[in-house]
Subunit: 308 residues, 2 copies
Amino acid sequence: MSKLLIVGTLAFDKIETPFGKTDKILGGAATFIGLSASHFGIKSGIVSIIGDDFPEEYLALLNDKNIDTSGVEIVKGGKTFFWSGKYHNDMNSRDTLVTELNTLADFNPIVPDNFKDAEVVMLGNLHPAVQNSVLDQLSEKPKLAILDTMNFWMDSALDDLKNVIKRIDVITINDEEARQLSGEYSLVNAAKKIHEMGPAYVVIKKGEHGALLVNDDKMFYAPALPLAEVFDPTGAGDTFAGGFAGYIAKTEDKSFENMKNAVIYGSNLASFCVEKFGTERMQHLTKDEVMQRLRQFKQLTQFEIEFN
Amino acid sequence: MSKLLIVGTLAFDKIETPFGKTDKILGGAATFIGLSASHFGIKSGIVSIIGDDFPEEYLALLNDKNIDTSGVEIVKGGKTFFWSGKYHNDMNSRDTLVTELNTLADFNPIVPDNFKDAEVVMLGNLHPAVQNSVLDQLSEKPKLAILDTMNFWMDSALDDLKNVIKRIDVITINDEEARQLSGEYSLVNAAKKIHEMGPAYVVIKKGEHGALLVNDDKMFYAPALPLAEVFDPTGAGDTFAGGFAGYIAKTEDKSFENMKNAVIYGSNLASFCVEKFGTERMQHLTKDEVMQRLRQFKQLTQFEIEFN
C-alpha cells in the first residue's frame, strides 16, 4: 500500500442547479479527491491553504476518513478560497458567478516531512507553478504523479503548465481542454500530442460521456453510469481523479490493465458525487454501495462474444 | 439462421465534408443496412423504390452480397431519391443542401412473397405509414421488428409514428431525437418513456459517444471506437442498425445478453463506415477486418476487477 499526497484546494462552494441552490458549503479539489481516495484504505495527506474561517468540523470530517491535514496551512485572519457557480439546464455547462482566491492567491505549498516520500502524488487543479513546487520538494521521484489542470492555466500560464506536464505520468483533462492543449480536434490525435509533451498516460474526461484512457496505441474507455438525474456535477472530475489515484495507491500496480480498473473506480465514485449537492453524497458513501455500483458498471460494459 | 427483411431507401448521395466532396454516389438507408447485415451470412432482402436512373451495377453490388432485391420497385422514367449534405468541421452536425424525394414520394411498399415470413424485420428510416404498411403485409408477427426513425417524422407524422412504435420490439434513435420523442432530457428517463410507448428495447445512438441499449432496468453501453479521423459519417447509424439486425438474425437469440453483442457488432461495423466516403469502405470490408476490430472493442471496454 502506497502513501498518497494530494495537493489542491479546500474551499467554500455556493452552487445553483436546476434542482436548487446551496449556501456556502464544503468544496475544493483536494476535498473531493481525498474523500474519493479514502475508499481504498490508504494513507493520504492534503497540502493546501485555508483561512481561519474554515470550520474545524470540515477538517475533522477529512481526518475521520484517515486523511492527514497537517499539510494544510491555516492563515490567521485569512479567508478561504470561495467559488460560486450556476449550472445550466443541460448540466453540462455552467457560469462562474464568483471566484475569490483569498488565501489561495499566496499559496506556497509546503509538503510535510511524512509525505515527502509519497509514492503516489495527485496534483489537483492549481497554478502549474504550485504543482511544480510540490514535485520539487519530494525526496525522490514518486512512482506515479497524476496531474489535473484546466483551460484557465493554458490561457494564463502555458509555459509553467508545459514544464510540470513534462514531469508527470498521468494527466487528467477534459475533452475541450485536451483539444485546446493539443490543437487537435480528434481526441485520439489530441491524446497522442499530449503524450508527446510528457505523460505516459492521458485520461480524457468527457463528463456524461465517460472517460478515455490512452497509452501509446492502447486505449480504454469507461462510460459514465447513465443516471436518471444528475443533481450537481461539482467535484465529479476531482472525485474521478481521487478514485483513480486511490486505487493505484492501494494496488501499487501501474500497468495498463490495472489503470483500466482505476478508471472504472474513478467513474464509479464520480457517479455518486453528482447525486447530491457538493460532498454530501461522498461523506456517507459506503463500501457496499461502491461494490454494488461496480456490479452495475460490469453489467453496463461487459459482454461475451465468441470469435468465429 | 433467420431471414432479414430490410425496408428503406436506395438513394443517390452527394456529400461534402472537411476532407472533400463526392459526385452522386450510392447511398440510402437500405443500402447501408444491407451491406452491414451481409457480414453475418444471412439471407436478406430489400423492399424499396428507385427510378430507372439507378445503375444496374449498384443492384448487382447488393446481389453479390447475397441481398435479394426482388422487392425493389423500379419506376420507368422515374428518378431515384437524392440527398445532398455538407458536414461541419466537427463532423457532428450537417446541413442538408438538397432533398429530392422523386419516386420515394409515392412509395407503396410491396413485400415479396418469399420475405413475408421473415423472422427479423429492419424498418429503416421512412414515413411511419410506410413502415406500418410493411408490418401489415407479413404472414405472421416477426420474432423481432426493429425500427429506425428521425425527428422529421416526429414533427410531421407523430400519430403514424406512435402507431408503428407500438408494434415493434426495438427502436434505434439518436439522443436528441429520444429527448424530443419523450420530452425527457435524461436519456435514462427518455428510454423509459419510449419503452412505455411499445418497444421492449430502446437503443439510443450517441454518434461519437457510442450507443446505449435499455430494457426495463437493464442497460448496456457500447462506445464508438475512438478514431483519429472520421472521414464521412453518412450511413453510420444505418450501418449500426444493419449490424445489430444481422447479428440477431444470425444468432436467433433476443436475450439481453445477446443484444449486447448485437450492439457491439453494430458499433464495430459503423466504425468502418465512417472511414471513407459513402459505402466505399463497406463494399470491400473483410471478415478478418471485422474480427480484428472486435478485438479492439474488447481491449477498449473489457476489464477484470476482483471484488473484495
